[in-house]
Amino acid sequence: MKKKLLKRQHREYLAAFLFLLPSLIGITVFYIVPYIICCVKSLYVGEYFVGFKNYTDLFQNGTFLLALKNTAIFTFTAIPILMVSSFLIALFLNSFKKISSFFRSSFLIPVVAPIASLVCVWQLIFDDYGAVNGLLNSLGLNTVEFFNSEFSMVMIVFIYVWKYCGFCVILFTAGLANVPPSLYESARLDGAGSFKILTKITIPMITPTTFFVFLMEIIYSFKIFREVFALFGNYPNENVYFLQNFINNNYYNLNYPRLSSASIILSLFIIIILLVFFIFERRHSFAE
């Protein structure tokens, strides 16, 4: 009987493995192998093995450090703003008993709208003679050069938040809907206030959703390069020169050692952020 059970288990493992095999091959061929090749190439200059010289050179390169700084500023500014704002909007929407499907789907319009058409709109809005500057001038304020000053970063953060806020709101709304109403009722019976309910019940209960939203935002934050590229081209001003610009330009310059080492650093940057958040989620999740 036991033998039969084991045999059946083996067969199930085999079937599962075979079903996983196509995607495993795909991931191995298109992600794992190139990543390993990239790691190895980052230790070479041409045919010569140079160890970590490419990495040390990178950290002495002013342009790379500028790109790293800008990427860090964007990630640590845009993601918290997006998370907080989308969570607050989701909380607000959750207070309504029913949200029409049109309203819900309208949140996704910025995500699906083609970048090329949006770029034209943003150029009209943020141009020196655009809508925002028109408004600022009418209020007696000076014109802000959004395309060539430190405000470029503000503009990119705004575009990022605007574009992905709706999507995150939908995710948070779904997470909030899954919190059992009985928990709120019993908390209220125990005399808990709105703030206490929020911090002690809502936030811990939606930790898995928060983690997922964070993960998506990290991914989307690296996709913002498309917008930066469409607005500023290959060589944006120094305030919005990101790691992706550095990598992209080194691709055209055929500087493989620099490109591969920068890519490895960028991937480590993402892995570290996710790891920290993953550990945090494991420790503080009460959803179970």
């Binding site: 067969r11 085999l14 079937a15 075979l18 079903f19 095999l21 196509p22 091959i25 795909g26 061929v29 200059v45 041409g46 390169n61 002013g62 342009t63 790379f64 500028l66 790109a67 060539n148 081209g233 290959n234 060589y235 001003n237 120094e238 020169y241 550095f246 330009n249 080194n250 691709y251 055209y252 310059n253 055929l254 500087n255 493989y256 050692p257 620099r258 490109l259």
Partner: protein
């Protein structure tokens, strides 16, 4: 039964994927993998040379030395393919300097092959000794030779003493600063170089003098640059070229409506221009392109080659380079395309060949007067041009006519320059943006 079908399905998917990947491998191993490759998006001079070389190989070498030309629909597709393939250890073996690629960066990161090293490795004479040392050595960086110039043009413009005198200038004391001053004082309409494209190229050649690609630095934040920028900007901004200028080109140069003219680099075309200007009563002269601090004479490569370091058949490149620098090819192509060859013997031949018997009045016969004008113009043109050629000490990588199309000028600073020349941004903003973009490009 259901489980069996699932297993069969998954095996089928695996086999399908494996076959797909095998297909990829097969595709890469093309039949001509041992042949040298050149990528082109249109029939350029290098394609002409390759076609001639392939015929030469069929007669004198074996066919494995022939070069394969891979054609592309657009420059963008071609450059993307080159980037991707070079990254993966392949790519075309021969590159043309007319391709919109960042060659100075390629040289720096050793994507390009050092020809000196190759010559030493195979102990092969490519005929460098027969070529103009000033041009060939100008492309050598720290003993490494990444570029092979084939044809070049001195950085000079043609004008006449009468035109220069109109603006209180002489050819012996010519400066763009003085010209700018005089032109803005005269308040008359003028065409600086006979076309707006030429003006743009003049502007890019001006900017290029403040960039040092080897040390990775730019000097745009100096008073000198700011002052000279004003002068060049004013020259270009007040230019009122229209397309009709070329209908009466020689008349326009002669009467000063067009101040300077960039002729084709061959001796033949220079003699032709000189002859017509002399016939119209002018005294043709050559003036140098804008030179920072009035430095030495310079030239630019009109047709040049670079070679991919990933090349699998490096030994086959040397006979090709030798053929490109040979007397026969240099002579033939100079005559066909009005180029100035780097091969000294070919240049002497081209000088000998210049025809000074011009039928200026187009009455189907060359009169004695026309012969005398032609002869005088020929002597003057050859003397002036030879003086300039002999004093060349610098050579730029890209030809003057296509400066606005190089990778750096079009992709890195193109938008900034266009905005500035259109008057959309101030001078301060232009310098700031130019400095930032250039520094990023040079150091990334």
């Amino acid at each position: 039964m259901a489980k069996k079908s699932k297993i069969i399905t998954s095996i089928f998917i695996c086999v399908f994927i494996s076959i797909t990947f095998c297909g990829c491998l097969k595709n890469d191993a093309s039949a001509n993998s041992d042949r040298i490759k050149y990528y082109a998006c249109s029939e350029d001079s290098i394609c002409d040379i390759i076609n001639k070389y392939n015929n030469y190989c069929a007669e004198h070498l074996d066919k494995s030395y022939q070069i394969e030309i891979v054609e592309f629909d657009s420059q963008e597709d071609m450059n993307l393919k080159i980037s991707t393939e070079v990254m993966s250890g392949g790519g075309p073996d021969i590159l043309s300097l007319s391709q919109k690629l960042p060659f100075e960066k390629f040289a720096k990161n050793e994507t390009l092959l050092d020809i000196n090293k190759l010559i030493a490795a195979y102990d092969y004479d490519i005929g460098l000794g027969d070529c103009s040392s000033a041009i060939m050595n100008a492309e050598e960086l720290d003993g490494k030779r990444y570029f092979i110039p084939l044809f070049y043009s001195p950085d000079v413009f043609i004008s006449t003493e009468q035109t220069l005198k109109k603006y209180n200038l002489t050819s012996s004391d010519f400066s763009f600063k003085a010209l700018s001053h005089e032109l803005s004082d005269s308040k008359s309409t003028y065409s600086l170089l006979g076309g707006t494209d030429y003006c743009l190229n003049l502007f890019y050649s001006f900017l290029d003098q403040y960039i040092d690609y080897n040390s990775g630095s730019a000097e745009f934040n100096t008073d000198e640059f700011s002052e000279n920028l004003d002068c060049i900007y004013s020259l270009i901004k007040n230019d009122s070229s229209d397309e009709n200028i070329y209908y009466f080109l020689y008349e326009n140069i002669n009467n000063g409506a067009s101040v300077l003219y960039k002729a084709m680099p061959s001796f033949d075309s220079l003699v032709r221009t000189y002859s017509f200007l002399e016939y119209l009563g002018g005294s043709p002269v050559l003036v140098n392109n804008y030179k920072r601090g009035g430095g030495d004479d310079s030239a630019s490569v009109d047709v040049g080659l670079a070679f991919n370091n990933n090349c699998k058949n490096k030994d086959k490149l040397l006979p090709f380079i030798k053929y490109c620098l040979s007397y026969d090819l240099q002579k033939d192509l100079s005559i066909e395309c009005l180029y100035l060859p780097v091969n000294r013997r070919a240049m002497d031949y081209c000088i000998e060949l210049t025809n000074y018997e011009k039928d200026f009045d187009e009455d189907s016969s060359v009169s004695d007067m026309e012969k005398a004008v032609g002869s005088r113009a020929r002597s003057a043109a050859i003397k002036d041009y030879k003086d300039i050629i002999n004093s060349i000490s610098e050579c730029n990588l890209y030809r003057f006519d296509s400066l606005s199309e190089t990778y750096f000028n079009s992709s890195v600073i193109g938008d900034i320059v266009n905005k500035y020349l259109k008057g959309d941004i101030s001078k301060e903003k232009f310098i700031r943006q130019l400095t930032a973009a250039t520094e990023i490009y040079l150091t990334e």
